[in-house]
């Protein structure tokens, strides 16, 4: 006969072991797809060489690993594929994380990172910047991501203040305000495209989303905002759980609902803005990955959020690899691939799982 305390300890330990095993597995997947992403491409580089080249840049390994490495491969890996692959993983993780957060806040399975107009805001920002640069013939370095980011964040602030009634922003009002603002911004995007003339191709290409030619500098743009957003979201994981029960029950459990909601919204918008600004509009990841993770691991955000981030990264890495190889040497916009492989897979999961969406 075990003492009740002992039993409790066992249970806690078992849960901990299960979670650790799960995340180790996901990390292995992530590592494998990162290496695959670097290895696969127009010039194929064997994974073993990829690993040797990467390790050769860690001090202490250089002496016996560098022998016989191709300098061209080294350049391809370090200046082109590695930054791209890292960025893909970051954006995949960011979109999935933001999606899980929005679905949690709104208690709505249809919510995704773009739900409250973030995408339309970012799109408008990007389109404006492309047009301004072409009209003024003054190329600003990184003007497009910067514009996209600023517009995304401004949009969410506008939506939040529109939805605010007497110090509270009920989720239903937020959703409606988001949809209204989103349609308005989409119309403005279309208007800009209508008048964009020669730049139309560039605009459309940006809107479809992709990672071609992204270097390390894009990662430096992403990191600060992305990290702040992700950190805030992870901090409030258990509040998100409580908020799934409803806003009032959450308050009864000691959650400062309005404050937490505001912070989470801004965090998720920062994260989304960071993703959109470096990669354009990549749909589907933020909507579907959280659902898949929920089906696999349940609704607890303490597991859901990190798992969604990891699986989102893996998913987008695979999609990006496919985007690069299917019509090599040219490249598909990755947003098309995410929808093409994610859609059927999601439908398959939905049909198999007779449960409700959550």
């Amino acid at each position: 006969m075990k003492a009740p305390g002992q039993e409790a300890d066992d249970m806690i330990r078992n849960n901990f072991i299960k979670r650790s095993a799960l995340f180790t597995l996901l990390l292995v997947f992530l590592l494998a797809s990162l290496i695959a992403g670097v290895s696969i491409g127009a010039v194929s580089i064997p994974p073993s060489e990829v690993i040797r080249i990467l390790f050769s840049h860690i001090p202490g390994f250089d002496s016996y690993l560098t022998a016989g490495l191709s300098p061209e491969h080294e350049t391809i890996i370090l200046t082109m594929r590695s930054p791209r692959v890292v960025l893909v993983a970051l954006v995949g993780a960011g979109l999935a994380l933001a999606g899980a957060t929005f679905q949690g806040i709104f208690r709505n399975p249809m919510a995704d990172p773009y739900v409250i107009g973030v995408s339309s805001g970012a799109a408008l920002g990007a389109v404006i910047s492309i047009l301004v640069q072409s009209i003024g013939h003054i190329p600003f370095y990184f003007a497009t991501p910067a514009f996209a980011f600023v517009f995304a964040v401004v949009t969410i602030l506008v939506v939040y203040s529109l939805a605010r009634v007497g110090g509270k922003a009920p989720v239903m009002t937020l959703l409606l305000a988001g949809i209204a603002v989103s349609s308005l911004l989409s119309a403005l995007v279309s208007l800009c495209m209508f008048f964009s003339g020669n730049q139309l191709h560039q605009v459309v290409f940006w809107l479809m989303g992709g990672f071609s030619g992204r270097g390390w500098d894009y990662i430096y743009i992403f990191i600060p905002y992305g990290m702040v957003g992700a950190t805030v979201i992870f901090i409030y994981a258990r509040e998100l759980n409580a908020m799934l029960l409803g806003e009032e029950p959450a308050q009864h459990l000691g959650v400062e609902v309005e404050r937490v909601k505001r912070r989470l919204l801004i965090a998720a918008a920062l994260l989304t803005g960071a993703c959109v600004s470096v990669s354009g509009l990549i749909g589907f990841v933020g909507l579907v990955i959280p659902h898949i993770v929920r089906m696999l691991f349940g609704p607890d955000h303490r597991t859901l959020l990190p798992a969604a981030a990891l699986i989102g990264a893996v998913f987008l890495l695979v999609a990006d690899i496919l985007a690069r190889v299917v019509i090599a040497p040219s490249e598909l916009p990755v947003g098309i691939v995410t929808a093409l492989i994610g859609g059927p897979f999601f439908i398959y999961l939905l049909r198999r799982q007779k449960n409700s969406m959550f």
Partner: protein, 424 residues
């Protein structure tokens, strides 16, 4: 004083729901908030639970304005069980109860053994340990309610606020929940404030009742002080009797029964139900409410069909309790049957005592009377006469009666027949 509600006025938007309400609640009290629908009971509770901020007045928890206390601190002292369960997500029951520990567990810290014990105790008390691994979105309303109560108890609060905790529950669970609340108060010194619809439950379990009428506090007092004929009339606008049925001294409300409208004798379509043992209860009630002139027999005095028939004011051919149906009753029964437009044989269990009923129906059927047999239970399963009843029953089915599967079908069948009246 634990809770002091001071001149609270509040509402939604511009409309005032609660006007200048003041209530004092001491530690260990069991307080019921009662009143008609829309009187502001729930609003009062929402004000106390810091969901609805009052326009004027304030709520003091241990002397401190609840709006000056961090929400997380309040959650350690006060747990709330609201009306809508709203558990739509596949959390396990245990996950939900664990959330009750949220105010106690530090961010990123794991549950301590003490938390696990609190959760286990809460689940034991509410009898939800067996549901621990079930997904809450698949539980019944009553089970959800108990899981939510477990969550509230896992908070280890001093005060438990409840909004109609019994409203989704079957009678046995209503009593169980109220008994549990009484026990929590007794053993853990929990202060309980609950909105209740049922005045008799409130009377039985609460020390004090707060009666709310049209947004104002009408009366506060013990059940004996509050539950009086006059107060009920003033607050609810209806006539009741107040009785003291047992030695506990709790007043009990009895509604003054009004007889159910019985249609006039003539020109009315008659139906005779041969029932017993509760098989006819549903029929009697439904037929009467659809305007049929109903009679029933032969049933024993005290039988559940007999009780229902008495309550409904239906004419009954009755036999003495626990006796066989006699010749005299059968004769009366036949008279009734002959006056009826339809005879319905309910799914009765047959014993030697009432087999004469079956014989009687069979005779009528062979004469060509319109008999409807509700054949919802296999005759062999309700034959306690060693096969004799089954034999008669099979003859009956062959004699040209209408056979239906349910009371509902029987009613439909007769309704269809009402338009083109049967020639007899």
């Amino acid at each position: 004083m634990l809770l002091n509600i001071l001149g609270v006025t509040c509402g939604y938007g511009a409309s005032l729901v609660l006007k200048d309400a003041s209530v004092q609640i001491n530690s260990g009290d069991f307080v019921g908030i009662v009143g008609p629908n829309g009187s502001g009971k729930s609003t009062l509770l929402r004000t106390i639970s810091r969901i609805l901020q009052p326009f004027y007045g304030k709520v003091l928890l241990k002397g401190e304005d609840i709006y000056h206390i961090p929400v997380a601190e309040i959650a350690k002292k006060m747990a709330v069980l609201t009306q809508e369960p709203g558990l739509d997500f596949p959390f396990t029951a245990k996950d939900v109860v664990t959330m009750g520990r949220l105010p106690h567990i530090k961010r990123f810290a794991r549950e301590s053994a003490r938390d696990v014990e609190a959760i286990a105790r809460a689940m034991d008390l509410t009898d939800t340990a067996g549901l621990a691994d079930r997904q809450v979105n698949e539980l019944s309303g009553g089970e959800k309610q108990r899981v939510l109560l477990a969550r509230a108890l896992a908070q280890e609060p001093e005060i438990l606020l409840l909004d109609e905790p019994t409203s989704y529950l079957d009678l046995n669970y209503q009593i169980e929940i109220m008994e549990l609340l009484a026990r929590l108060r007794r053993e853990y010194g929990l202060t309980i404030v609950t909105v209740l619809h049922d005045l008799n439950l409130a009377s039985r379990y609460c020390d004090y009742l707060v009666v709310v009428k049209q947004g104002s506090i009408h009366t506060v007092g013990t059940p004996r002080q509050v539950i009086t004929v006059d107060t009920i009339k003033e607050v609810y606008g209806c006539e009741v009797r107040v009785e003291y049925p047992d030695s506990t001294g709790h007043p009990y409300i009895v509604f003054n029964d009004e007889p159910i409208g019985i249609a006039e004798e003539d020109g009315e379509r008659r139906v005779h139900v041969v029932g017993g043992g509760g098989s006819g209860v549903v029929l009697l009630r439904n037929l009467l409410s659809r305007g049929w002139k109903v009679s029933t027999g032969v049933v024993n005095v005290g039988d559940s069909d007999w009780q229902e028939a008495c309550r409904l004011g239906i004419s009954i051919i009755e036999a003495p309790p626990f006796c066989s149906v006699g010749v005299n009753e059968i004769r009366q029964n036949k008279e009734m049957i002959q006056r009826a437009d339809f005879i319905i044989l309910a799914g009765i269990p047959f014993g030697t005592g009432n087999i004469k009923n079956l014989e009687c129906v069979l005779e009528e059927a062979e004469k060509g009377s319109p008999v409807i047999v509700i054949d919802n239970i296999d005759i062999c399963k309700r034959d306690y006469t060693g096969g004799k009843a089954a034999e008669l029953y099979k003859c009956l089915l062959r004699s040209g009666v209408h056979t239906v599967n349910s009371e509902w079908q029987a009613i439909q069948l007769m309704k269809g027949d009402r338009e083109n009246v049967v020639q007899r």
